[in-house]
C-alpha cells in the first residue's frame, strides 16, 4: 500500500472533481436555457459560484501537503515549469480555472441579484469599474461559462491522469479501460464521478433544499443522473475486473477493495450511499418527475460523500508493483 499520499490529496482530488462537475452543470443549464426558465435558478447559482472556492480550498490543501514548498512557498513557482509532468499541467489548469470560475460566479451573482448590481454601482470607490457596466452581462457570463467548461473538463480528467501517469509503479492506478484498449481508466472514471458529484451537489442537494421537493423543474434530470450513475457503476466494475484479470499487485488492490481491508469503505461508504441508494431514489424521482426531500437530500449527500471516499479508496488501495 502506498503511503506517500493520504487524506489531503484525496480531499483535493475530490474537491477539484466536484468543483469542475458543478461548473459543468451550471454551464449546461446556461447553454440549454434552463437557467432562464424561472426567475431564480439555484442549481446554476451554486454551480457557478461554488467551484472557485472549492478548487481554491483544494489547491490550498495541495500546497499544505507539500514538503519544502509549504515552508518556502516561492518554490511553488517551479511547479509551473516542467511540462512533461502531469502535475505541472494540473497546476496550470488550476491557475486558469480558479479566476475564470470566480468571474463566472461573480457574474452569475450579479445576474441573479439585481440588488447586488445596484449596490456595486453606487459605491464611490468602485467607480473605476464603470466600463464593466457597459458589457452585456449575460453574454459575458456565457463566455466565461464556456471557457470554464473547457477548463473544468481538463481539471476533472487531470485528477485521473495524475494517478494513471505513474505507469508500472502502481499498476492499479494505471489500469486500462479494458485490457486491450490503451486508455487509462482513472481519467474516465474521475470525469464521470466529477459530473455525478457535481449534479449531486447542485441538483439533488441544493435544488431540493432551495425550491422544495414539490417542484422539480427539469423533468429529464433524474434520468440523466441515473445514466451517469449507471455509467459510473459500469466503469467501476470494469476497473475492478480488469485489475483482477491483470493479476499482480493490481489484482491485489482489487481484492482488498472487494473483500479485504478496504471492503467496508467500498461497500458501506461508496456503493451503498453513492450508487445503490441514489439509483433507486432517482428511478422513483424519474417516475414522479420530482424529488422528495428524503430522496433529494439523501442522494445528494450520499453521492458527495461517496465521491470523497472513492478518491480516498483509490489512493489508499494503490499497491506498488512487486519487485
Amino acid at each position: 500500500m502506498q503511503t506517500a499520499w493520504g487524506w489531503l490529496p484525496a480531499i483535493y482530488l475530490f474537491l477539484g472533481g466536484m468543483g469542475a462537475g458543478a461548473l459543468l452543470v451550471a454551464a449546461a443549464f446556461e447553454f440549454y436555457g434552463k437557467r432562464y426558465q424561472y426567475d431564480f435558478c439555484p442549481t446554476a447559482l451554486v454551480g457557478a459560484t461554488v467551484p472557485g472556492p472549492l478548487v481554491i480550498l483544494g489547491t490550498l490543501l495541495l500546497i499544505f501537503d507539500l514538503g519544502a514548498g509549504r515552508r518556502e512557498p516561492w518554490r511553488i513557482f517551479y511547479m509551473f515549469t516542467h511540462f512533461s509532468s502531469v502535475m505541472t499541467w494540473g497546476v496550470w489548469l488550476l491557475t486558469l480555472f480558479i479566476p475564470v470560475s470566480l468571474i463566472y460566479g461573480f457574474l452569475e451573482i450579479l445576474d441573479a441579484f439585481p440588488a447586488a448590481r445596484q449596490w456595486l454601482r453606487t459605491r464611490r470607490w468602485l467607480r473605476w469599474t464603470a466600463f464593466l457596466w457597459n458589457l452585456p452581462l449575460r453574454r459575458t457570463k456565457r463566455v466565461f461559462a464556456g471557457i470554464g467548461s473547457v477548463l473544468a473538463v481538463g481539471v476533472a480528467i487531470y485528477t485521473g491522469i495524475l494517478l494513471s501517469a505513474v505507469g508500472p509503479a502502481i499498476p492499479f492506478w494505471s489500469t486500462r479501460v479494458l485490457p486491450f484498449i490503451p486508455i487509462p481508466m482513472m481519467p474516465v472514471l474521475f470525469l464521470v464521478s466529477a459530473l455525478s458529484t457535481g449534479m449531486g451537489l447542485t441538483v439533488d442537494l441544493v435544488a431540493t433544499l432551495a425550491i422544495g421537493p414539490m417542484e422539480q423543474r427539469v423533468k429529464s434530470l433524474p434520468w440523466i443522473h441515473m445514466a451517469f450513475i449507471g455509467v459510473e457503476t459500469l466503469l467501476l466494475g470494469m476497473l475492478l475486473i480488469t485489475a483482477l484479470v491483470n493479476g499482480g499487485s493490481a489484482a491485489q488492490s482489487a481484492r482488498e477493495i472487494i473483500a479485504g481491508t478496504h471492503a467496508v469503505v467500498f461497500w458501506v461508504l461508496i456503493v451503498l450511499p453513492g450508487f445503490i441508494f441514489p439509483f433507486v431514489v432517482h428511478a422513483y424521482a424519474a417516475g414522479l418527475g420530482r424529488h422528495s426531500l428524503v430522496s433529494g437530500v439523501g442522494s445528494g449527500v450520499g453521492i458527495v460523500v461517496a465521491g470523497l471516499f472513492l478518491r480516498y479508496l483509490i489512493l489508499v488501495s494503490g499497491i506498488p508493483a512487486a519487485l
Binding site: 507539500l66 514538503g67 514548498g69 517551479y78 511547479m79 515549469t81 512533461s84 502535475m87 508500472p168 509503479a169
Partner: protein, 219 residues
C-alpha cells in the same frame, strides 16, 4: 482620481512583470556546477551479485552513515526472496534509469539525469510533492521529512568523481558489490554485463536501469 489610478496601473504592471520574470527565470537556475558537469564521458556500473549477497545489511548501514541519515533510514533496502530454507536477498536502491519516470513526473526540474547516467535530485528546486515516490517502480526514493524534499541513492557521486567508491561497495563483506566503468571494455563490470550474467532488474518496467545490474541465479 488621476494620480491613484496611475499608480495602481503601475503597481499592477510591476507585479505582473515580477511574476513573469519569476516563472521564466526558474529554468535558468544553475545546478551545482560541479555535480552537473564533471566528467560526463564516464559510464558507471554497480553490479550486485545476489549469489554472494548474505543479506547482512552492511551496505545499508554504510549508506546511512555516509549520507548522515537518521537511525533506521537508508537509500538501500532489503527484500527477501526465495523460500525460508533458501532465502535470497535483493538489495534495492535507485537503479539510475536511462528513462527515469521520477524525472518525467517531477513538476519542477529537481530530478534530472546527468550525461553519465547518474540520476540526481537538486534539492533546492524540490517542492516535496512526493510524485516521484509514486512513479518510481523500484520504490527507491525516501522522503526527508526534516527538509521536506525527496531523497535517494546518488551513487556517492562526490566520492566516485574523486576516484573513490560508493559506501555500499566499500562496506560489502562478501564482496557481492562490484563497481566500475562500463565504458572500459577491460573492466570486470563491463565483462560481466557483456557476458549477460549481470542484468538490469525488471526490464519490463521500461525504465531502462543504466547503472545498477544484478547477477541472479535462475532457479
Amino acid at each position: 482620481m488621476e494620480i491613484p489610478r496611475l499608480s495602481r496601473r503601475r503597481f499592477l504592471g510591476l507585479t505582473a512583470a515580477a511574476g513573469v520574470a519569476a516563472v521564466l527565470g526558474v529554468p535558468l537556475l544553475k545546478r551545482e556546477a560541479s555535480l552537473a558537469q564533471e566528467r560526463p564521458k564516464a559510464r558507471y556500473a554497480l553490479i550486485i551479485d545476489t549469489t554472494k549477497c548474505t543479506g547482512c545489511g552492511a551496505c545499508i548501514e554504510a549508506c546511512r552513515l555516509r549520507n548522515h541519515l537518521p537511525e533506521g533510514v537508508s537509500y538501500i533496502r532489503r527484500i527477501v526472496k526465495g523460500n525460508e530454507r533458501n532465502p535470497r536477498f535483493l538489495m534495492i536502491q535507485c537503479q539510475h534509469c536511462a528513462n527515469p519516470p521520477c524525472a518525467t513526473v517531477c513538476p519542477t526540474h529537481a530530478t534530472y539525469r546527468r550525461e553519465d547516467g547518474v540520476v540526481l535530485i537538486d534539492e533546492r528546486l524540490c517542492v516535496g510533492c512526493k510524485y516521484c515516490m509514486q512513479a518510481c517502480p523500484y520504490q527507491a526514493r525516501i522522503f526527508d521529512e526534516e527538509r521536506g524534499v525527496a531523497d535517494k541513492c546518488w551513487l556517492c557521486l562526490p566520492w566516485v568523481l574523486g576516484g573513490g567508491l560508493p559506501a555500499c561497495v566499500e562496506a560489502c563483506i562478501p564482496g557481492a558489490r562490484l563497481f566500475g566503468r562500463a565504458d572500459d571494455p577491460q573492466s570486470e563490470v563491463a565483462q560481466l554485463i557483456a557476458s549477460g550474467r549481470a542484468k538490469p532488474l525488471h526490464p519490463e518496467f521500461g525504465t531502462d536501469p543504466s547503472i545498477l545490474f544484478y547477477v541472479i541465479e535462475e532457479e
